[in-house]
Amino acid sequence: MTEKLSRSTIQPKNPVLNVSRSANLPHVPGIRIGDYLFLSGMGPTDPNTGGRNHGPIGEQVRTTLNNVKHMLESAGSSLERVVKVHVVLADISHMDEMDRVYREFFPVNPPARTAWSMQLRFGNGCEIECLALVD
């Protein structure tokens, strides 16, 4: 018999990145269950304006991963504590360019990952979700 895990909502410290609230979407930015963090899929939201960064895919991936980093750090975790990532691209041909930028964020012992392509909302070129452990 294990003890019951508690469940709570997590929020980015930067309210601009709370896209589910600003776009009135029926989800939260993330949920903490015990010491596990489940983040909603994040896109290339500009952390200053809240607008969407629809520049080259490398920039979109960088913006998105910086947002993921911010989200994790807001919830007492970090990129080093990520265990699993889903990367969804709008265009499968962007895989190599995505990898190039992705590598900068996970230089050693990277998390498990699945990357594929399918249709995304809002014209985003990428969407990234992850599962992490708190520190």
């Binding site: 015990g34 596990y36 504590r81 699993k84 990277p110 594929w116």
Partner: protein
């Protein structure tokens, strides 16, 4: 005390698709009580080379490789919690399913199947979460 995070090395180099294809990922990562396995594609576990085949043969190969990865991490098919299967066409889902149903013991894990565009022309990609 914080939950343990540990990268688990594949039992043979051929199963390390991250290395074979220079992908920035670990094949298996333990986080707390769970194991997270990266999206697997069909490779020869001896050579690490991609094996191209039908949806059925690729599924068969992936699940055989998944079994090896899980067992090397101290887990097994009967400890799998959730599987996500990506197929290049949902028309092929019944073919994937036929192989899948043969491999997993009863009761099988929770599962989602989705049609998606996959890298490098592969027909199937399978990832899973299991108990460590």
């Amino acid at each position: 005390m914080s939950l343990q995070r540990q990268v688990i090395a594949p039992p043979v180099p051929g199963l390390d698709a991250a290395r074979s294809f220079a992908q920035p990922m670990s094949m298996v990562v333990r986080g707390g009580e769970f194991l997270f396995v990266s999206g697997l594609t069909a490779v020869d576990p001896q050579t690490g080379e991609r094996i191209r085949g039908t949806t059925m043969s690729e599924t068969d190969r992936i699940l055989a490789n998944l079994k090896l990865l899980l067992e090397a991490a101290g887990s097994s098919f009967d400890k799998v919690v959730k599987v996500n299967v990506l197929v290049h066409s949902m028309l092929e889902a019944p073919n994937m399913n036929e192989v899948f149903a043969r491999v997993f013991p009863e009761p099988p894990p929770a599962r989602t199947v989705c049609g998606a565009r996959l890298p490098d022309g592969v027909k199937v990609m399978i990832e899973c979460t299991a108990l460590a």
